[in-house]
Symmetry: C2
Subunit: 335 residues, 2 copies
């Protein structure tokens, strides 16, 4: 079917890690845009840990996706046909495309990319909600101050790679936890992390954190949760802030890990705080201005991990939970 809209729909809710068996590909005729709508050709779609939450039985704070529905996702697309003022064929946009190749969307769901700032995939990664999550989580929730010691878990992931650099640029000493010597070397050599912990090579993570951060943690930016959170709680400095950004070790777990070190919060006068980046929507321009400036002066680097083919999006989602990606994971849809 030429110019069909290919879309990936949820087939069955996963109980563990999500993968191809939980999704199906469908195709339908492209729908011509009505007044106030645009027809898009999707170039890239995002793959994020939160997606596993959206397709679960009880996502809690977001509307869940029902079987048969197209998978919700951010994407970068080119306008094919527009009935929206200010959008013309050929424009590049950032939109809630979902995992589909030719969505027809309301103009309000589409944002034209500014000229000359970042590449298309940057708008899913460092300049998208991924980078903004790192920026606001580290600064507005973690309240990092120069000279502090900052630990980041999931440091080689989409959010982690930016979070650690935000702290490094704020003159903190930054330590990253990642899986494997290759990721760790990249964090140190390319992203400027001061030290790394390869959790796959450490029999005792708490002891490894203690060695890497002998004065304790002022800020722990957590993307992993579970035993990683426990190891960090056992190594807090006075008045530490623990930022709960994600918990990828727990999201698809059959049984939740029990965190034993909560009592440390008393003597350390420490805080554990969760957040959702959309609460900072009114400050996204501020965050993007900072991130753009740091990209321009090359103090901020990042990697995009690209998978080719919309049909591989479900497989990519599973990769996240196996630590298969380095940097921000995206799926290339178009040619």
């Amino acid at each position: 079917m030429r110019n069909a809209n290919r879309r990936i729909v949820l087939r069955a809710r996963p109980t563990g890690v999500a993968g191809p068996e939980h999704f199906a590909e469908e195709a339908e005729a492209v729908r011509a845009p009505g007044p106030g709508e645009v027809l898009l050709e999707t170039l890239f779609v995002s793959v994020d840990p939160a997606m596993r939450v959206w397709i679960s039985e009880n996502p809690g704070y977001v509307q869940r996706i029902e079987p048969g529905e197209t998978m919700r996702a951010s994407g970068i697309a080119r306008v094919l046909e527009s009935r929206v003022e200010g959008l013309a064929a050929g424009d590049l946009v950032h939109a809630r495309t979902g995992w589909q190749s030719h969505p027809t969307l309301a103009g309000e769901a589409v944002e034209k990319l500014p000229d000359g700032i970042g590449s298309p995939t940057d708008w899913l990664g460092v300049l998208g909600t991924t980078g903004l999550t790192a920026f606001f989580g580290m600064r507005a929730v973690g309240l990092v101050r120069p000279g502090e010691t900052v630990l980041v878990s999931g440091a080689a992931g989409g959010v982690g790679q930016i979070a650690g650099q935000v702290a490094r640029i704020e003159a903190c000493r930054v330590v990253g936890i990642a899986g494997g010597a290759e990721k760790c070397a990249w964090l140190r050599d390319e992203l400027g992390y001061h030290a790394t912990i390869d959790y796959k090579a450490e029999p005792d993570l708490a002891a490894a954190v203690a060695r890497a951060c002998p004065g304790g943690l002022d800020v722990f930016y957590d993307n992993v949760g579970g035993a990683t959170l426990d190891a960090a709680l056992g190594n807090l400095a006075l008045r530490a802030r623990v930022v709960i950004c994600g918990r990828i070790s727990q999201t698809a777990a059959s049984e939740l890990y029990g965190v034993r070190n909560m009592g440390q919060l008393i003597g350390k006068r420490a805080r554990v705080e969760g957040f959702v980046v959309t609460d900072f929507q009114h400050r996204f321009a501020e965050g993007r201005a900072w991130l753009t400036a740091r990209m321009r002066d090359e103090s901020l680097r990042h990697r995009v991990h690209e998978i080719a083919g919309l049909e591989r999006a479900p497989e990519a989602l599973g990769m996240l939970f196996r630590g298969g990606n380095t940097g921000k994971l995206v799926v290339r849809v178009g040619a």
Copy 2:
């Protein structure tokens, strides 16, 4: 031995709940005060959950007590002999007496009680660090605001009884968790708690919290920790604050409880924070002014649970961990 200084010393570190088997009574001649010192006759000593931490192997944030040392404690005493300017025989003072009957202390360790404010035991309870812990924990850490729903665990204990009333006076809806129908009735009928949960009668504490607080918790003031903390984390409202004041269920536990509901902090944008009251020392006058005013207008009530006889202090410490006290626990030393 007339006018001997009787003192309770640590004999052996407990591994579980502390009791008489971990302490010994000794007697020594009273020591006459040197320049800058006072000789006291202790009237009351305090018994606090934190004491179990001080005598443990690794208390973390305070100096531990060694076997053979007198048990550290706040007390109320009468001056018998003074070589300190401004203190005279007969004065009532608040001091770090320890569990002993006739300590000789440096003048700096002794604070004269102001006339006409509270009874002597009030200076160990509602006007002592117990009441100040409740006040600053609820207001400065919990940041309670009028109309919010506030849950207090250990609500019938020394700190809990005040904490709930601080929130009630701030126009919050206050729910207390306590053990037994009698304690619960007292919280509702005498202290003005709006609802109570008898944890001993509830097979599912999380469900009981959900029933008592259908809109979720804005503030959870936790003195208990462990499974109680988990039940509360499963019932948070958006932007909830969880104040970790104590964790009496865990302090003497042989194995720490693993908290499973940490993931709730993300979607609820919630915060868990520990504190130690001594960090608010520069604001104690403010706290005492508030508490005194509320005692005078009778909006703040409280109970002192008095045990007679210094030799029973170790037994009293064990009571705290068995929920044996209602209100602030003190030991009467003198006649």
